[in-house]
Symmetry: C2
Subunit: 249 residues, 2 copies
């Protein structure tokens, strides 16, 4: 008896064998029902299995195609280089993508004073619920939604600065923090991966079978104080992260 697994396995093998390139139209469901002598739902389940693996994608009214793999953008440590954002620099993300020949833009979703969520409070070193300033923004690369990023700041550091406004000015919020007397010294990045919630899936227009990377960045001043915590949710198929460090003692 032919089952959906077998059909999925054979389709997977032919795709991975290179017979169908990115965006190539696969045999239609009704073709396959005839070829295997099974019901339509059985073939569909095979396709759904591959979709959950991120291998294929259905296009309304056309059929199933091999899902194109976007070339991922590299997030290296050098994107934080002081020389890029001090002086006349641009915000980090925009500057960094421009260097890679990609267009990028961002939209502010919210600017507000909110109680610090627990993971943020912990990293800022304040009691949970302490009022903090949040900038919630959505960034786009080549007009595809790329990440949802929420940056949290202690209130005293953003008081009277352009961090509270939509446009933070040349060099972005890093430059504004330094103008406000904070010398930025160190970055901590924590990375995890998971499947998106349904809200994120819509907001990032993720095809089924695309995980997200959760990046939590904590920025420290020279005194060791945490001055910013950014929580970002990033489409995994558009990103790789790159770190270099000496072997610790």
């Amino acid at each position: 008896m032919v089952g959906y697994r077998q059909i999925a396995d054979e389709l997977r093998a032919t795709i991975e064998g290179g017979e169908y390139g990115p965006r190539a139209l696969l045999p239609s469901v009704s073709d396959l029902t005839k070829r295997y002598g099974v019901a339509k739902e059985t073939v569909r389940q095979a396709f759904m299995t591959l979709a959950a693996e991120g291998l294929v994608q259905s296009i309304s009214g056309r059929g199933w195609i091999v899902r194109p793999r976007p070339r991922p953008r590299r997030h290296g440590m050098e994107r934080y280089s002081r020389s890029r954002w001090s002086g006349e620099g641009q915000p980090i993300l925009i500057a960094e993508t421009a260097r890679q020949g990609l267009s990028a833009r961002q939209e502010i979703r919210e600017l507000a004073e909110v109680p610090a969520p627990e993971p943020v409070a912990e990293r800022l070193g304040v009691p949970p619920g302490t009022a903090v300033w949040v900038r919630r923004r959505t960034t786009f690369i080549e007009d595809r939604t790329h990440q949802l990023a929420d940056s949290y700041y202690p209130l005293d550091l953003v008081e009277g600065t352009r961090i509270r406004r939509e446009h933070t000015g040349p060099g972005g919020s890093f430059a504004r923090l330094e103008e406000n007397g904070v010398h930025l010294a160190e970055i901590r990045e924590e990375i995890a991966a998971r499947m998106p919630t349904s809200v994120e899936s819509v907001a990032l227009s993720l095809p089924p079978g695309t995980p997200v990377v959760e990046l939590t960045r904590t920025t420290f001043g020279a005194t060791g104080r945490a001055v910013e915590v950014m929580c970002a949710v990033i489409a995994a198929d558009m990103s790789t992260f790159d770190y270099r460090f000496p072997i610790p003692d």
Copy 2:
């Protein structure tokens, strides 16, 4: 008309609302078909949707449960500290998990001389296809499969060392490389996330809806030569990665 999306949305809301804790048994499919007045397959599709999000999991003969989220293991840079593996140390992974109060073990899947795959050759700085030594191993944490890790070495560095054997001895392969005249200096880690292939899914016994993290580690000697490339595939729900670094100039 009640569709599978609506049923999925309502189930998701009650789960996220905390009504059902980890491993709690959800209402059965036949309960829900009665409650919503729909066919069995419709309810099943709702559950399948949530399974792909990693929220629920079916248990044969029992029903659908809320999927427990394993507490992830933290991979910090300090796991590479020289003091941990020089002298009488243990291999890095085993030592590191022991510090976190977890049992770990590893099984060697293959020890062989193979042509370097392209990504490995590129990082080792050799032409693709150059013969290299590979150690393929599977690691387990608390007896759950945790990662598939393949380490590649230039042949001249493993000649006559215990890196070619199943047991590399105290301090693991890092210690053996240093004995062989390489002073280890720097680590590069590249991280990406994706859905597992079907092979990985079986090998790591991943529940549906669990992504994997691809970690590519390159180890450099003091002269700048790449002396090891490790390609690891890790269950994402068991891992977070943690980096700290000074803001570059």
